[in-house]
């Protein structure tokens, strides 16, 4: 894989995958930084998790340890699903307590 030249021309190698992954990571970070809505926060976290899983899979494709990368990606997907379930349960509980899903308004301890 030659890193020289524009990343979106020619054959697709590891760099192109990593560029997409970084892009998703940045979008996820921006989403997490700017969201007031707890559900939108969670979407940002999912984007970041997907970026990480994409990294694993692309290194599995272009590197040597190919099964290991895919196994890790499956772990990431499973963790993402578990995290979404718990986080959304928390969002629902928060909504029942404060009648809002705004993360910046959840400032009370012990509702």
């Amino acid at each position: 894989m030659s890193p020289s030249g524009a990343p979106f021309l020619g054959p697709i190698g590891i760099t192109e995958y990593l560029v997409v992954s970084v892009w998703m990571l940045e979008c996820g970070l921006y989403c997490v930084f700017t969201s007031r809505n707890a559900v939108a926060l969670l979407m940002g976290v999912e984007l970041i998790l997907n970026a990480a899983a994409l990294n694993f899979v692309s290194f599995a494709r272009f590197g040597v340890g190919r099964v290991e990368g895919q196994v890790s990606a499956i772990f990431v997907i499973a963790l993402g699903a578990a995290e979404a379930a718990v986080a959304l349960a928390i969002v629902l509980a928060l909504f029942r307590l404060t009648a809002s899903v705004r993360a910046d308004e959840a400032s009370r301890l012990r509702g």
């Binding site: 190698g13 192109e16 939108a40 994409l54 578990a82 629902l92």
Partner: protein, 183 residues
């Protein structure tokens, strides 16, 4: 440079299209202010990532991505949105929090990462075999070398399910107390 190492030809064109759609939709998740629109942008991102997995030869991961993320996480997200808000609520279209500072932080970090990825790192070409189908390989890895992590993940999933039920359960007693306190 081994043949079949990089993605070329029609697959490369498909890769480019998928990657572009994914990246545009990822921006949509970050900047769309309507939460439901953002959720559907996330759906597009997840499908696009599944496509990228498939083009990387990881078809099992691609299918699992669709099964778990599209069928599970996005549906959960939509349910959460629909249970907690109505169309036209301020929560549905909320103002971003400090967008300039966040954009600055994100841009500088991405510049750093792009420098690291594209300019300073020389990725070496390893002579990797071309992958055809890896479902059996991944399955064997799960029941062999990665048996313990696999089992730990299953325990974690169980804990997550139980935890989610406990948290989201309508506790009538405490709710009544809160209602009385509010009054």
């Amino acid at each position: 440079m081994t043949s079949g190492y990089e993605i070329t030809g029609i697959a490369a064109a498909a890769w480019l299209a998928t990657a572009l759609v994914t990246m545009v939709a990822a921006v949509g998740v970050a900047v769309l202010r309507n939460i439901v629109h953002a959720a559907f942008a996330l759906l597009v991102v997840l499908l696009g990532v599944a496509g990228l997995y498939a083009l990387a030869g990881a078809d099992l991961i691609a299918v699992l991505q669709i099964l778990l993320y599209v069928g599970g996480v996005v549906v959960l997200l939509l349910f959460a949105v629909m249970l907690t808000s109505r169309m036209g609520d301020p929560e549905v279209a909320s103002q971003p929090l400090a967008p300039l500072r966040a954009a600055l932080a994100v841009t500088s970090l991405s510049a750093l990462l792009a420098y690291g990825l594209i300019v300073s790192t020389r990725w070496r070409d390893v002579d990797a075999p071309h992958i055809v189908g890896t479902t059996a390989d991944v399955g064997e890895a799960f029941l062999g070398r990665y048996l313990l992590p696999f089992e730990v993940i299953s325990v974690l999933l169980l804990a997550a399910v139980v935890g989610a039920v406990v948290i989201a359960r309508r506790d009538s007693r405490s709710e009544r107390e809160i209602g009385e306190r509010r009054r």
